[in-house]
């Protein structure tokens, strides 16, 4: 039996390896992410952070290694199944659906949690109430509005996703990911391209999401953000883990400083 008060492992990675030809994008990575933590993953460009996300979400198959999420091995699950299990992500370069409205974008995220099947939806649409949205549909709308309000986007619900300003597109991606009701949220450089004001708002949003009990893995280059909000930091370099610990420990670690040497980064 698990003691709910004690911290437990949400995600456990064992010996995860991914090669592209002779190049090891990830090499024998072991990593544990504690439930309810913000766990940052940092490292120079090409260190394997994005590959790691792609392996976690199942977009790329791992060569070897094991991914255990909430006590279940998810290695063979397709991306959509992993989303169902509770893993969601945002993208470094924003990937919204340009033709969908803000509201619809969030409702796509709810897709996997709304139960009525295709057949029921088809039947409903054709037979029962041709021009009335079903109960499930209205529920999805209510949830979507709630999420949009949570992220301050409610006023834009009927705008096209592609018409939003950059910072709001990032927030919309986050709303969409949250709509899948994840237990583990992967954020891929959420502060990229944001101004300091937007970044500090993001800081608050991420903390609030964590406080809802969602575990977060944060890939980010903005060290001020990373060191400010993370509970734990893992440092990758050339696909290998070179350090792990609290932000304090990482900042003082000579190996980490050396890896970043020559890069203009203030740890």
């Amino acid at each position: 039996m698990r003691d709910p008060a004690a911290s437990h492992v949400c995600l456990s990675i064992e010996g995860l390896t991914k090669r592209f030809g002779g190049f090891y994008a990830l090499n024998q990575l072991n990593m544990d992410v504690q439930q309810g933590h913000i766990h940052a993953l940092i490292g120079p460009n090409g260190a394997g952070k994005t590959t790691f996300f792609n392996l976690l979400t199942g977009v790329l198959p791992a060569d070897t290694g094991k991914i255990v999420f909430d006590g279940q091995i998810v290695d063979d699950a397709r991306p959509s199944r992993r989303t169902l299990k509770g893993i969601a992500r945002t993208f470094q370069n924003i990937r919204l659906f340009p033709h969908l409205t803000v509201m619809e974008t969030v409702m796509i995220g709810e897709h996997c949690r709304a139960h009525p099947s295709v057949w029921k939806a088809l039947g409903d649409a054709v037979l029962k109430r041709p021009f009335q949205e079903s109960v499930a549909e209205r529920e999805m709308q209510t949830n979507a509005i709630e999420l949009l309000e949570y992220l301050g986007l409610a006023g834009k619900r009927d705008e096209k996703a592609s018409d939003l300003p950059y910072g709001e597109q990032r927030k919309l991606e986050l709303a969409r990911a949250l709509a899948t009701k994840p237990r583990l949220l992967l954020l891929d450089e959420p502060a990229a391209g944001m101004n300091p004001r937007e970044t500090s708002e993001l800081d608050r949003i991420i903390t609030r999401v964590r406080d809802r009990g969602i575990t977060i893995i944060l890939v980010e280059h903005d060290m001020k953000l990373v060191m400010g909000i993370s509970d734990n930091v893992t440092v990758l370099n050339f696909g290998t883990k070179i350090a792990e610990g609290s932000p304090r420990q990482i900042q003082d670690d000579p190996v980490v400083i050396e890896a970043y040497l020559g890069e203009d980064v203030q740890l």
């Binding site: 659906f97 033709h99 009525p116």
Partner: protein
């Protein structure tokens, strides 16, 4: 005279639209030019015919039956010509569906004979006079079915969970999958819907022209293609409007210029669209063509 031609144009256009909807849905989701779509239309027509002739079905049952048979054909198409072929080679599914086209057409000729077959009078022919317009019960039936089908489909695409998933998948498979959308299922449902609608279009065409043949698929496929391009790739409402538009243009040009030039105009429109508005009249809904 003009009103009369407008009605005829809408009738023709409605069947073009129904064919193009399937094309554009499938193109949207898979970026695949689904060659066998015209043959699905032909098989729908024959399914309807046999249901009326030998099954003693009334026309509504025949329409529903043709729809279901074609939807099943859509499922078969996915399993034999889409899923097994390599996804990273864009031409592979195109060629495998051309193969399916040839198989379906030859099978139809072999089983049904190469002749044109008369479609029985499934609806009592009556004429109504409304002001200057004379409209027959058959015309009302065809227009009514086609337009209600389009309205239901539009609602399905725009306002249901599955419709939204279809649109999201059309924009990006990977992102949709990462949001929990089962892309394989979306593809399957898309083929079923597109094929089912083509089946209905086939039966309606049989009723309208009172004759069908195993070779009717090709010309339908070509017109459907023009309509898809006209409406914008992957754009379902665009295909609906463009279908009606093309029907009107063909009929009006046939009436006022000459019947032999009818196809000339549709192909001239195709070329103009490709030259001056490659994204169609109403904009493509695929990321690449944006």
């Amino acid at each position: 005279m003009l009103y009369q031609q407008l009605i005829n144009g809408l009738m023709l256009g409605a069947s073009y639209a129904l064919i193009a909807i399937g094309y554009t849905l499938i193109f949207g989701v898979l970026k695949l030019l689904y060659f066998a779509h015209g043959e699905v239309f032909m098989i729908g027509a024959f399914a309807g015919l046999y249901l009326v002739l030998y099954g003693g079905a009334n026309i509504y049952v025949a329409l529903l039956g043709a729809m279901i048979i074609c939807a099943l054909l859509g499922v078969i198409a996915v399993y034999v010509s889409v899923r097994p072929v390599a996804k990273d080679r864009p031409l592979a599914p195109l060629i495998s569906t051309i193969g399916l086209t040839i198989i379906l057409q030859n099978l139809a000729v072999y089983l049904l004979g190469g002749q044109q077959v008369a479609f029985p009078e499934a609806i009592k022919q009556e004429l109504y006079h409304i002001g200057p317009i004379t409209i027959s019960s058959v015309q009302i039936f065809i227009l009514g079915i086609a337009i209600s089908l389009m309205v239901v489909l539009w609602f399905f695409i725009e306002h249901t969970k599955m419709g939204r998933a279809i649109r999201a998948t059309a924009e990006n498979h990977e992102t949709a999958a990462l949001l929990g959308v089962d892309v394989n299922r979306v593809v399957l449902v898309t083929f079923m819907i597109g094929s089912g609608i083509a089946g209905v279009a086939g039966v309606l065409d049989g009723i309208k022209n009172s004759g069908i043949s195993p070779f009717m698929g090709l010309s339908a496929a070509v017109k459907g293609l023009i309509v898809m391009l006209l409406g914008g790739l992957g754009n379902v409402p665009g295909a609906m409007i463009a279908g009606l538009l093309l029907g009107l243009i063909e009929i009006l040009s046939a009436a006022y210029i000459g019947t032999t030039e009818r196809d000339f105009f549709s192909f001239a429109i195709l070329i103009l669209i490709l030259l001056y508005r490659p994204t169609g009249l109403f904009g493509a809904r695929t990321p690449e063509e944006r």
